[in-house]
Symmetry: D2
């Protein structure tokens, strides 16, 4: 497997200058050739994990069938020869960016779904999120004789299930998940059941859909659309649904808590055509642009997005400010993945392989450039250089999220805190560092307003998980604290 | 080589419902590791031909070096191991969609550049365009003992050069091109010279760029940008430039004619960040939208593009009409190529693999949908269905080009005339056929105005080749006429 | 991974008409780039398992490194890029035919070495042989919460080790192996130790070699030769050697038993250039031919082997009988693997793809044809047909082993008993079935004499495991008995 | 295409220490799915060319169909998907080692059959042999405007045919071949005809076979055997057969000459199960061993072959001398190709990857080692070292051919003359150089006797081409002489 550096499809920044969702999950039951539906669903969720994907199905003749592959869904799970090995009307799947703890290069054994055979049956699980006490659990399980096959935090769940004293798989899973801290949206299956669970805070999304007599579970609604399924509702935080024989049973295995959904799903991770909290993600992002225009107006000739993730906010900024929206930067559409094994000369081209300035349009113009976030800032500098090279008269950065100053421990791959520009610089310092004429981030309250909280953030009891902006972690990241990570109060 | 169905990156329609540019050409001289620059240039021109690509370089130690591959530039011509086989400071390259006359599936021998060894030296050529008397020339050459290795019309040129009685390669090429009818923008090379030629009408684009002491020739300016070269000027219709030892010499081997550049390059083929006729292609397309809003206004809630090719015109339509621009249809960014060897179930998903409606945004809204063209109409029907499924209150199609009623014989892959919807239906009939609330195409004069001809089309002596709209073919397609094709006057 | 049907390199019969050794194991310590030595050793042992191979190495910087691949050693474990991922001076490896219990097509997770991380360290093991109570152990381990990743019987060992209450890996392994019934020659490693073990009967071979300051363990001596190591001695039945810091420590973890080495290793499995019991395997096989000539003489013109496994016995038969030895059948040397995914027409060619009769030599001659064994007899019939087609005057089969009437449960892949020709036919019936002029097998006593037991088989306490000939199983195959297999006494 | 170094299957020496046949040809007509028969025939001829293979077929629906691939026949021309692209009842094929003149690494365009479309039809040809005036012809053809696509000497033939003034393809071919000097056995086809030709000297073999109503042409009879065809006769030197509608017509297009078949085909190139001159090649080689034992007796304990090419002669030597024949050296059967892209350490293993000494057998014995030839001597030295390392008491080399002192220009790949050991050393000097106890080559007369010429070589008018031994070239190698090669008389 050659090293590869997959990109978020709606992003254009350097890979280490981006945040990556780690996973997407999808499952269906009650549909002939279920694995084909799962392949389609995973294709629609590919932006949540480009590195690898896997599908497990079950049929009476063969039992559990499994295929896991590196690369895009469209390149693997579309071949008749492979799909023929995944028969059955019940199947789940997973796409991933990378798992926590992978010490070196990617290994197929880290690709989900994971499968375990138990004394009363077997189960496969696909996990989106991150378990913050996985290291401690792993040590405990190894001491008891469990053998881990992957470096994934998610594998703990299947071992905890194997060792549960419960007889039934659903109860084994409840047992296991009560031991687990952190964020999880899980799609699992037994021989006859499709199961969906969200952690008590509901950090990661999970939705329920219906197609004919069958049911689907998905990270996002856009994957229901691709198979033509109707969006029924979100799985609620702390809820477990067990679907069998066409019936959906709802369980509440956890002590109730106030939910704190990841606010960055609105800003960046979810697809713009998905529905979150009853509203189009696109529309929310456009509204962020509107808020940003109100908070941080500037005189300029054109509003341009950094394509493609900045586009909705740029449209909103343009509409609110009255400055014409324009495509000042064009993305090369052949860069779904960056160049594999490139020559030195090509590697040095960096962002120019992906983006080009619309020179004839930009020359002499004052540009408001709207981007979704600033992580390390390396891409921002290159884009500013490209615009000035092309003759822009001024470059004003407007960022559709607050400064990203803290790492995520709930299923998003973020650089270490010390590499986050906002961890050590003020807005003014960042403006000077990036060399732009002005730089403004949307405020945390502005972001909350844009996602529908009219009065902004409730600081006493925040409505969302916004740890990456605020350092306010709703679940203590215990493994990382054991490794020396200092929480905000400790750091201050 | 598995069958593949590459898509125009800025398009989203079904493959047989689209027009395809057949080629892009690029060449550099006076740059160390020239093949790397050519790889970058071809990557930027990939939208002009996704099926295959080739590079020829020359160095003293090895002579001419050649590599031709199916697939994207980024997947082939980026590997150190391959690029090491292409040393030298002079190189040319080609990306192609498909050649005229390929009787079955794609063969590597049809991939350009073509190379010929002559008695006084050798030459490689890369050709964008189409030779309309290629069949007649091929018969004549075979009778004289030439052996063709490909099914490409372009191979005629190299055989005509081989048989020329001139001694010098440049003069052999002039000899050969004087025998050839049709459209050609050629980048060629000898051991020491980089050569660029455009046919007397200048149907296909070709531009000259400069980087340090080196020179580049390219189909479009966006490929100069990627290597950091400065755009010097367009090669003029009927001009041949010969670049050697850092000097550019200009020849005029053909009888002068009034140029007729392909107007569809403005509408669709060229990248929006390229410069054509001194203006940003993006800006021209936005202006088409402005003209369209003036010619064909309608009451509506949102203006949405069919992504990505309809986007600039939709922005212009929104700005001129005052109706808010919005991303009502989202393109799956993992569809650079369609699914290879898909299962039946997946193949039937068709356009839903590529596009999804932003349901929460569209519901209850009257939509102006802006697309670049209507070819067979099959995709348009599916998009209309998707929008109505999602609850749109009305769907008004606005098309950024006049009705496409005639095939192109100058280097664009178009369906047979009988498959073009506009060949047999009026605008009203098409509206009924597509099932939309209204359908309007920009007028031919409106299009001419948008590309900068203030008074519209000069019908006595048209400024552009617009045969696909008008049936007015500037060069008689002699091979096709011999096969039974009837010109407009004959058809009427 | 396309289905493939690898052949024993010294055989030529149809794949389902052959016996297959299931594994070869190899390990080295104290040698820089140990994995390269293991690759060489596995290449020399490829005849013991052609389907897949794996290597695990350990170095301080990376810990345990692992690579497992389908296909030949020479095609995988020779690439610099792969071998670079296996650094360290301690490594073990495994080649396999197929594991017991694989319910469908081959999966990479079944490829050894297996690795387990324990609370006080980790270990990797490579196992040649078969565990006859693996199913029972697996059920017990699953009930206790162990999760199996493969369908291999060998995985039990690593789980038993993980659950051992001992702290040190060597003692955990002793614990585990005392629970295991059947045949095993194991090469294992911890971070610092290379370990070799043979079951108390010593059914499968394992030898110790020395190269400079380093040590090697191997299934056969031929693999010591390829790395230039000196053959020191055989690991004794029931012995465990632990090699660390250049020292070899010998343990005796099992109750002592009278050894019963597999006599078929002499007849067929081991390479002719290996040394077993102090004697060249080639020489033993030649001696089998000598015994066979004495037991079953016949008048004939030529003695021909079925290449290549019958060659040494045919040479011996010729020398003892005085009938000239000749290559009457020629093997196509390009059949290391049979045709992959062949067309129907080609598949029907069967044995003719692999063997051809030397027609000009054979015509009119009476042939003694020497083969190593008769399993199902299908190949024998085809060879007889080929010889008669070519004009042979008579065909006398002489078989270098007694009739194979019972399946092996100790690490050899044999057809079910009902498919073994000798399970239901007498020698005369087989002769008629095969349609040959005469058919004689060597007697069991004759075989014992040829391997050096001057007085033949000690029926009271046989010197070898000869269950495949005698039905006398030295360890009761408990899993198979539970599935309904009837032992000889029960069957009679 | 990674570089590969295929081995003669019956050889074991280092690749640059061996002679390589350059090609095998095969064709059939009048058989449904002809390409499948050609694939089988080429598989049987694989020893004549391991690098690449190609097949051309013709059917009415598609015309000429072609597929050319690097690698073994069994890995390419056995896949249903590929064979389905080669329909028709008339097909020819070619396997090759490498063509003359390839300046660098292998290119698919050099793989035969070559195809040309002429004004009155097309033809494909497959050529075994070498054209000694190809360079001169190529220059002449290029000057006239022909464009060469390959670096192969064989391509001249198709260009000469294209330019012939004859109308019918058969006559064009006769025209072309009269211009060509050197060795050629050609299998060609038009839309309806299968054609076979041998040069007037008949240097390379070509035989005719019959299967039902169909006909086959093949380099050797072993390839007739594999498809079950009956061997009818050899095509005669200087004969052209044209097979159409089940009829075989014989032409004599060339001035008659005394034939001089390549004597080395008997010694080494042809498969031992083929029939040459009415006799089994195996039997001829055994007879060479008999002659060698008479000419060069020695006291010893064992006669051993260098496997596999020395085996028949070693059997003969043993039978004549009374010294027991034994397999003292065992060949690793997994070395059909040498390691691809090996690590440095593995590459250094050299011959030990391929051969191993049967140590327990060899120790203390005096060995007669029979090999087919000595080219550069590098392998011989390594084998001698291996035997002495293993404890051999003495090593006597006996070589089944006379000293190879001159390069072949008729289709065999030989090192330059200065690299041939026998070009600069006497037998005694070679014995000292190789460090063996004695070294003897068969005499040229002895070789002639062994191939059936009772009175040895007719020096006035030799019965065979033996230029590689004698320097007596039956056709002057004009291209090579122009490049400075000095014939024997000139050299002396």
């Amino acid at each position: 497997m050659p090293a590869s550096f997959p990109l978020h499809p709606f992003a254009s920044r350097d890979d280490d200058d981006a945040l990556h969702e780690e996973c997407g999950v999808f499952g269906v039951t009650g549909m002939a050739e279920a694995a084909n539906f799962v392949a389609l669903g995973l294709h629609a969720l590919q932006h949540r994990g480009q590195e690898a994907g896997g599908i497990v199905s079950h049929d009476l003749a063969h039992g559990f069938n499994s295929a896991r592959r590196f690369g895009y869904v469209r390149d693997n799970f579309t071949k008749q020869s492979l799909m023929d090995t995944l028969p059955g009307s019940l199947a789940i799947g997973h796409v991933r960016y990378s798992t926590a703890g992978s010490k070196g290069h990617a290994q197929i054994r880290d690709v989900q779904p994971f499968f375990g055979e138990f004394s009363m049956g077997g189960a496969a699980i696909a996990h989106n999120g991150n378990i913050v006490n996985a290291e401690a659990l792993r040590r405990e399980l190894i001491a008891a004789g469990s053998i881990f096959q992957s470096s994934s935090d998610s594998e703990c769940i299947i071992h905890l299930m194997a060792r549960s004293l419960q007889r039934r798989v659903v109860e084994r899973m409840q047992d296991a998940l009560r031991r687990v801290d952190g964020a999880f949206s899980i799609v699992a299956m037994t021989r006859t059941k499709l199961i969906g669970v969200r952690d008590p805070l509901g950090v990661r999304p999970l939705v329920l859909g219906r197609l004919g007599d069958g049911w689907a579970l998905s990270s996002e609604t856009c994957a229901l659309d691709i198979i033509g399924a109707e969006f029924v509702r979100e799985i609620e935080p702390g809820e477990m649904v067990v679907i069998e024989d066409g019936e959906v049973l709802s369980h509440r295995p956890f002590a109730p808590q106030k939910p704190r959904f990841c606010i960055f799903e609105h800003v960046y991770f979810s697809r713009p055509d998905s529905i979150l909290g009853g509203r189009s993600v696109y529309e929310t992002r456009r509204q962020i642009g509107v808020e940003l225009a109100r908070e941080a107006p500037v005189e300029a000739d054109l509003v341009c997005p950094v394509p493609d993730s900045g586009t909705p906010a740029a449209i909103g900024y343009g509409q609110e400010s009255g400055i014409p929206y324009a495509m000042g930067i064009i993305r090369n559409q052949y860069m779904g993945r960056t160049f594999i094994e490139p020559t030195e000369q090509i590697r040095n081209m960096g962002v120019r392989l992906k983006l080009n300035v619309n020179r004839a349009l930009i020359r002499g113009k004052r540009i408001v450039l709207v981007d979704d976030s600033v992580v390390r800032g390396t891409t921002s500098i290159k884009i500013r250089e490209m615009l000035l090279d092309a003759g822009a008269a001024a470059v004003h950065f407007r960022i559709a999220s607050p400064p990203t100053a803290w790492p995520c421990f709930y299923g998003v791959d973020t650089p270490e805190r010390e590499k986050l520009l906002a961890a050590s610089m003020s807005e003014d310092e960042m403006c000077a560092h990036l060399g732009v004429d002005s730089l403004r981030f949307i405020s945390l309250d502005g972001l909350y307003r844009a996602v529908g909280e009219a009065t902004g953030r409730d600081n006493a009891s925040p409505q969302y998980c916004d740890a990456c902006f605020s350092g306010d972690y709703p679940v203590a990241p215990s493994d990382r604290i054991a490794q020396g990570f200092r929480l905000k109060e400790a750091a201050e």
